[in-house]
Symmetry: C2
Subunit: 134 residues, 2 copies
DNA sequence: ATTTGACCCTATACCAAGTATAGACTTTAT
DNA sequence: ATAAAGTCTATACTTGGTATAGGGTCAAAT
């Protein structure tokens, strides 16, 4: 398969696939005589794996580690579980952060009614206030 | 005030302040004879405003717009309200997305119990599955 | 008077995770 | 034979900064 084909199948762009190669997530593929990359079914499956990981917002480093661990199938998968759990923690923290942000923004939005002038805007006056922790 | 002072007061780094200047959020300040930036109380307040906006995850473009609108104090603040409401929408959407991600990751985590081998890992087997929309 | 240290200056490179472009080459279709 | 589509490499750009190199300035201590 050529790069455009696996791009179509996976929904990754051609550039993204070459980018993953540069980042070491995909091995250097064989080339045709005309220097075109040719991919095996295995590489396609690996790209699908990568896409799934990215869809779950894992970093390239995290994905690298997961791909690496697949090469030692007899070892314990505890470290895989650990990565996922840590990742869930990160996402939970981000959700908390965004909820707090949203609450603060909603409060601001409520502090300004329609038909006000810029100089009387409740939102802008809120944003002027320094609230440094300490 | 010199740049280090307003950095200390606001908690922005010196580089970040120069970065905001390059991006047009802060005007080019006066300089001393030795070419040091000197800031007024007004600029300090503007930097505090910017910091508040960034703390609410607004983009530099959004902040630019808010700063601009402050220059026409007699005009309606409808557009300011619109920016904030749109921003709240963006954050809400992100929260939704992360909640869905978290649910999917938790499901994966539950699919793998302790003491398994890599080749039997429930998480890795989940990640192999392509689920393309269409 | 000089030297040390803290601060400041510009310019440039780097980060993540791609995206976009230019300019050339290869393959496919007409 | 030629045009269109696909591919190649290399490079620049995105966001919101951070880090570094290599220099200049300023105040205090020696």
């Amino acid at each position: 398969m050529k790069i455009g084909e696996i791009a179509d199948i996976t929904g990754c762009s051609v550039q993204t696939i070459r980018f993953y190669e540069r980042k070491g997530l995909l091995a250097q593929p064989k080339r045709t005589e005309g220097n075109y990359r040719i991919y095996s079914k295995e590489t396609l499956e690996q790209l699908i794996f990568i896409k799934q990981c990215r869809a779950h917002d894992m970093s390239i480093q995290e994905i690298s580690y997961l791909l690496e661990s697949r090469e030692t199938p007899e070892q314990s998968c505890d470290s895989v579980n650990a990565i996922i759990n840590e990742h869930i923690e990160q996402i939970s923290a981000k959700i908390e952060e965004l909820n707090a942000l949203k609450a603060s923004l909603n409060k601001m939005a409520n502090s300004c009614s329609a038909n006000r002038k810029i100089k009387d805007c409740g939102i802008l006056s809120n944003l002027k206030q320094a609230n440094f922790p300490k």
